[in-house]
């Protein structure tokens, strides 16, 4: 996170009175985290739980979106096999299979990727805030 303004905007839920750290020029991010790092890395109760939670959240997110993608992709050939008329249907002069596989799939994949990125980064931000607070 390089832009301090963006950082402020992304933590609007900070309670009144809670101190917000404003970093104007992020240096090679070390010293500040050494203390909390020791706690998390030492695998003492709390740190270990936090790490496991983060990994689980990220894995569930990846699995959810992965399964969605697999379901959509696998449904396409199945639909063509079960309902052959779909294979010959056409929209605006282009055959459905061509339209779907040649064009439609890509925006879908991009959307999945984009939403993954957003959520994965939010998960990480939550974790970082818990560790740093």
């Amino acid at each position: 996170m390089t832009d301090p303004l963006a950082m402020l905007q992304q933590t609007p839920q900070a309670k009144p009175g809670k101190r917000v750290r404003i970093v104007l020029a992020e240096q090679r991010r070390t010293r500040r985290v050494v203390r909390t790092l020791a706690e998390v890395e030492g695998q003492t109760g709390v740190g270990e739980v936090l790490v496991r939670q983060l990994i689980r959240a990220q894995l569930l997110l990846a699995l959810r979106l992965g399964l969605l993608t697999v379901a959509v992709l696998f449904a396409i050939p199945l639909a063509f096999a079960l309902v052959p008329s779909l294979g010959t249907a056409s929209i605006v002069g282009l055959r459905l299979p061509w339209l779907l596989l040649g064009l439609g799939v890509y925006p879908f994949l991009l959307a999945v990727a984009w939403s993954y990125n957003r959520t994965a980064e939010r998960n990480e931000q939550d974790f970082a805030e818990m560790v740093e607070s």
């Binding site: 996170m1 390089t2 992020e26 090679r28 991010r29 070390t30 985290v33 790092l37 998390v40 890395e41 695998q43 270990e48 790490v51 983060l54 990994i55 990220q58 894995l59 990846a62 979106l65 992965g66 993608t69 992709l73 696998f74 050939p77 199945l78 063509f80 096999a81 052959p84 294979g87 010959t88 055959r95 299979p97 061509w98 596989l101 040649g102 064009l103 799939v105 890509y106 925006p107 994949l109 991009l110 999945v112 990727a113 984009w114 993954y116 990125n117 994965a120 980064e121 990480e124 931000q125 974790f127 970082a128 560790v131 740093e132």
Partner: protein
């Protein structure tokens, strides 16, 4: 075939630009880290263009259009699978892999599981997969050069190998990054510009001709056409036809008019077939014959649904196991950049793949003669010259030939860098001179294979490398990143079983020595070899719980902790003999975030 000077100029131009950019970028390469991972300073946009440039190989540039020409919409699963691979990579691998701080895939294996033995096994698989992937690239280069110039096949392969080795030796990853980013845009333009021109031209053709794509009949020749058969083929004929032939046809010597009844006809290597304008095109047996069938999905093969599913699995999971793709992720500054890079890559790939698809369809209209010779990979190359006469056709042909050459150069460069990376750090002491030596070895050996081995369809032989990658490195990475219980014994067992099975399955199918049922099962093995590999890793790891690394929690924390906590560290710098590796980071500030 006479030499097409236009195309040769296009190819020479691309080769010269490649060497120039590579040398320019390579001037900055001094340290081992520069050579291996460009000192981890490549920002998302450059890196995404470089990854796409590297990933869009001969199989994408030439192979997909060829398969579409032959098989119709079923072939569209190849580009979809190639792209889905990056989604899988993003979801399960990208950021943690970068945060591992490893330099190569075997390095990741050792960092995660702390075993040098496992590292050696991984090294062997990196080399196998890399070479499996390099051979078709070099063969594709030979095909391109011989299509446009008539030179023998080995010339193109040798030219590509020499240029790539020169570039890698001079600058390693740093120069390759610039070269590959440039080559993505080059490849995109080289396909897109001809496609736009041809589409505009084609809109002016009469409607009946354009509608013939949906007709209940095979495609037909638009002009009198001569086809040189370069390998033995079996052709499927729908309705009785007359042609002229010289050479061995259906086992008999022919020289003059030949009558073909409906059914299958064998044509031996070296034969020349002459068709008159308007006659129907006999199609290589096994592919859909009628245009109407060709337009529909699931029209070829013995078990189309299984083959389709297995193909998706293999391509989607294989991408994350390709060493040359993974090594590019190590060049990102941090895990967030690795994620951002992957999203941009998805966009760039989706944009690119529109054009080979359109090329394949246009090729069905204009260059159906490739269906006779079976040499469908040449479709993209021959299309412009076949549609447009005079200099526009030649110019566009030159553009496409240059783009195709860029495809071989960039993919081959990436492969040679990644193979040289593991060779130099695992088999040699890891100094810069070792990297250079390893690059020469990594390029020359597949060249020898490419010259010796027979030609397969480009997309299919690349699919072979994907199947092996999906069944070996994919489980290692996914389990290594997400599962605490993985042990080095389990990982090694999974690598050997999964990688070995997929390799053993694909070979007989690739050599064409099995019946159609077995071929369908063997040619696309990923659907069962990937689960077997996962299962092996899990079961063997469960049986050896005492071998779980003691610091597994700490390692997983490093892989998953947000970048701003600063937990990620570059691996074993001392291994590479240069302790100054970290220095260049503070220079070259343009890519720092």
């Amino acid at each position: 075939m006479e030499t097409d000077l236009w195309a040769v100029t296009g190819i020479l131009l691309v080769a010269a630009l490649t060497v120039l950019i590579g040398t320019f970028g390579g001037r900055m390469s001094r340290y081992t880290s520069d050579f291996l991972v460009a000192s981890r300073t490549v920002g998302p946009r450059w890196n995404a263009a470089a990854i796409s440039g590297e990933y869009l190989s001969a199989a994408s540039f030439l192979g997909i259009a060829g398969l579409i020409l032959k098989e119709g919409p079923d072939a569209l699963w190849y580009p979809v699978g190639f792209t889905v691979g990056f989604l899988a990579l993003l979801l399960f691998v990208a950021a943690p892999l970068r945060r591992s701080g490893a330099y190569t895939l075997p390095d990741f294996a050792e960092a995660r599981l702390g075993s040098v033995r496992l590292r050696r096994v991984a090294t062997i698989f990196v080399i196998i997969i890399g070479w499996l992937y390099l051979v078709p690239q070099l063969q594709g280069a030979g095909l391109t050069l011989s299509t446009v110039t008539g030179y023998p096949l080995w010339v193109g392969a040798a030219v590509v190998a020499v240029i790539v080795i020169f570039n890698v030796v001079s600058g390693g990853m740093r120069s390759i990054t610039f070269v590959q980013a440039f080559q993505y845009w080059l490849k995109l333009s080289a396909l897109a510009v001809p496609v736009f021109v041809l589409l505009i031209y084609q809109a002016g053709e009469d409607a009946e001709f354009r509608d013939s794509l949906g007709a209940q009949a095979p495609p037909f020749f638009t002009t009198d056409t001569t086809v040189d058969v370069e390998t033995d083929v079996v052709l499927q004929v729908e309705s009785p036809m007359l042609l002229e032939a010289t050479g061995t046809v259906d086992g008999l010597a022919a020289d003059g008019p030949v009558y073909w009844a409906p059914g299958r006809h064998q044509v031996a290597e070296g034969a020349e077939l002459r068709f008159s304008a308007g006659s129907r095109v006999p199609v290589v047996a096994g592919a859909p014959v009628d245009n109407e069938d060709w337009l529909q999905p699931l029209s070829s093969g013995a078990m189309p649904l299984f083959a389709t599913y297995s193909l998706i699995v293999g391509l989607a999971l294989g991408t994350m196991g390709l060493p040359h793709v993974l090594v590019r992720f190590y060049t990102n500054p941090d895990g967030r950049a690795a994620r951002a890079t992957t999203v941009v890559v998805l966009g760039l790939l989706g944009l690119f793949y529109v054009f080979p698809t359109i090329s394949g369809v246009l090729a069905r209209l204009y260059v159906p003669k490739l269906l006779v010779s079976g040499n469908t990979d040449a479709a993209v190359l021959l299309l412009p010259g076949q549609v447009l006469s005079g200099w526009p056709g030649h110019l566009l042909g030159a553009v496409v030939a240059g783009g195709a050459f860029a495809a071989f150069l960039s993919t081959a460069s990436g492969l040679v860098v990644s193979i040289a990376g593991v060779l130099s750090t695992d088999a040699l002491p890891g100094r810069v001179s070792d990297f250079r030596l390893a690059a020469v070895v990594a390029g020359m050996i597949p060249l020898a294979f490419a010259l010796a081995a027979s030609e397969l369809d480009l997309s299919q032989s690349v699919g072979l490398a994907f199947a092996v990658a999906a069944s070996s490195f994919c489980p290692l990475l996914v389990l290594g990143i997400w599962w605490r219980g993985l042990t080095d014994t389990g990982a090694a067992a999974g690598l050997v079983v999964g990688g070995g099975l997929s390799f053993a399955a694909v070979l007989p199918a690739a050599l064409g020595v099995v019946s159609p049922f077995w071929e369908a099962l063997l040619a696309q093995p990923a659907a069962y070899t990937v689960p077997i590999a996962f299962l092996t890793m899990v079961l063997v790891s469960r049986a050896t719980p005492e071998r779980v690394p003691a610091d597994v929690s700490r390692i997983l924390l490093r892989l998953h902790a947000p970048d701003r906590l600063g937990l990620s560290q570059d691996r074993g710098v001392a291994r590479f003999g240069m302790t100054t590796v970290a220095l260049p980071r503070t220079k070259g500030g343009r890519h720092r975030r």
